[in-house]
């Protein structure tokens, strides 16, 4: 709306001082919601999410249950006060879609066949939003699943790359988010070298996309290590008690 004359990226430095392939600060914790069977907290700069996992457990209505594997329920939700404009409580089309892609990504790494006729519930709450809320929510949920002791092939890590002023950058945020030309959030498992969530918006050439995907994968590897660390801390704390 307003006429912006100044460039966002100057000499390879971004508005908040980061380099093009630099992520925002990360904070990860496990076991933040005591009532849940497992829980996780993830912060990426100013984007904050918590997640809780309940199950495997009984679920209603019965006819939804699957006789050969656990039924996964996943709800991504933004707190009404998490954004500049208040969000009306309740599911939106946007949150319905995000819940669906996160559910698929997380289901990829679960041994669901081990728990037929049960339900696993994953609830994600975005408490503060500054871009990449689906990635941050997914990261928190991944920690929560591990914390709940649900058998997993591996942790899933998620982050986004984008294009700002024609340049491919990692983890778009703040002012960049409004001006961003492309957004590419992915979820990735380093050990398998596989992508489980991938969405892309915006006009991009094939080569740019490759560059962005590479960058996002590198970001996921950093996040993956932070998730591991959070779970180790939790484990140590439990042992220490």
């Amino acid at each position: 709306m307003s006429v912006k004359q100044e460039k966002l990226i100057v000499n390879g430095k971004r508005p908040d001082g980061r380099k093009l392939d630099e992520m925002r600060e990360i904070e990860a914790k496990a076991g933040v919601i005591e009532r849940a069977d497992g829980s996780g907290f993830f912060r990426l700069g100013n984007t904050i999410a918590v997640a809780a996992v309940y199950g495997p457990k009984e679920l209603h209505p019965k006819h939804l249950l699957d006789p050969v594997r656990a039924y996964v329920k996943c709800r991504y939700n933004m707190a009404p006060f998490s954004t500049t404009e208040r969000i009306r409580p309740g599911p939106s089309r946007r949150s319905t879609e995000i819940s669906k892609v996160i559910k698929s990504a997380l289901s990829s790494v679960l041994f669901l066949e081990e728990y037929p006729e049960t339900g696993i519930e994953i609830f994600i709450e975005v408490l503060q939003a500054d871009a990449s809320t689906r990635c941050v929510g997914l990261n928190a949920a991944s920690i929560a699943l591990a914390d709940a002791g649900v058998p997993m092939k591996d942790l899933v890590a998620s982050c986004a790359a984008g294009k700002v002023e024609g340049q491919i950058v990692l983890d778009v945020a703040g002012e960049e988010d409004c001006e961003g030309e492309v957004d590419l959030p992915i979820a990735y498992v380093p050990r398998k070298n596989e992508i489980y969530l991938l969405q892309m918006d915006g006009i991009v050439k094939k080569e740019e996309l490759k560059k962005a995907l590479d960058m996002a994968i590198k970001g996921c590897k950093v996040i993956y290590d932070k998730q591991k660390q959070a779970l180790k801390c939790e484990y140590k704390e439990v042992k220490a008690k």
Binding site: V32, I33, E34, R35, A36, N46, V50, A51, A52, Y54, K57, R75, N77, A79, P80, F81, S82, T83, T84, E85, R86, P89, P91, E121, F123, I124, E125, L127, Q128, A129, D130
Partner: protein, 260 residues
């Protein structure tokens, strides 16, 4: 799921004068209030009461006044006892517990006249601020009403009023004006377990609660809201005793956490 056996166990403990964490019947769990938790909110507070965790956010938006109070801003309190905090959650219309929670907190703030609603009027009959207080329960370990009430007033005290740009959009960058809050209503709920009056039960204790009475006090003299819940009755004498305890506890909380 809490079993019958579980509630019997709690009742027997209470009868024997004991609680899980060796508190006295009128002791609260540790209370922490972290104001300004959410940057995008005009005001916010993360309240931790034992293991109960509630995040309250305040958002301001431009709206119309109600026809019968054209010079006053609007207060809206909403509670989401969402699935993250309660595994038996079902999506659908707001469940009665969330609605009661929001309305009890709402009445405490509204009836105490804590918010100067006239200061929220921009153009009489046309344009006023709507103050949205959203109670977001993150972990339910009991006594949500008291924790939410404390969180709501803390978040309101943290809240600032945005400036309006000339084109009517909001300017949130430079918020200097604080929301005017003149009272600090605090809800304190008396719970009856095995006939005893107990404060601040955790979730296990709550499963054995037979009745409860919430009293929202403004100071050592004045109340502004009450709400009875649960099936067990209170004699008039029990009501008076509950009021006394609540006023006392409310005063302690106001002093310790709100410097009032």
């Amino acid at each position: 799921m809490i079993t019958e056996i579980g509630t019997e166990y709690v009742k027997n403990m209470i009868k024997a004068g004991k609680r899980f964490d060796d508190r006295g019947f009128e002791d609260l769990r540790e209370l922490k209030i972290e104001r300004g938790y959410v940057q995008n909110a005009e005001g916010s507070a993360m309240v931790t009461l034992g293991e109960t965790k509630i995040l309250v956010g305040v958002k301001m938006k431009v709206g119309e006044p109600f026809p019968d109070s054209p010079n006053e801003g609007v207060l809206m309190v909403n509670a989401e006892l969402g699935p993250i905090a309660s595994p038996d959650f079902e999506s659908g219309p707001p469940d009665p517990q969330s609605v009661e929670l929001a309305r009890v907190v709402d009445r405490g703030i509204r009836e105490s006249k804590a918010i100067n609603t006239e200061s929220l009027c921009m153009e009489p009959g046309e344009k006023v601020w709507t103050v949205c207080v959203d109670i977001h329960v993150l972990n339910d370990d009991g006594n949500l009403i008291d924790a939410s009430s404390i969180g709501a007033i803390a978040a309101l005290l943290d809240a600032k009023v945005p400036e309006l740009n000339e084109d009517g959009t909001m300017n949130r960058e430079n918020m200097k004006k604080k929301l005017e809050i003149s009272q600090i209503p605090v809800a304190c709920t008396i719970h009856k377990i095995a006939g005893k009056m107990v404060l601040d039960p955790n979730l296990r204790e709550e499963s054995a609660v037979e009745g409860r009475l919430t009293v929202t006090s403004m100071d050592s003299e004045k109340l502004c809201a009450m709400q009875k819940g649960g099936e067990c009755g209170f004699t008039p004498e029990e009501v008076y005793k509950a009021i006394d305890i609540s006023i006392k506890k409310g005063g302690e909380i106001r002093k310790k956490h709100f410097g009032a």
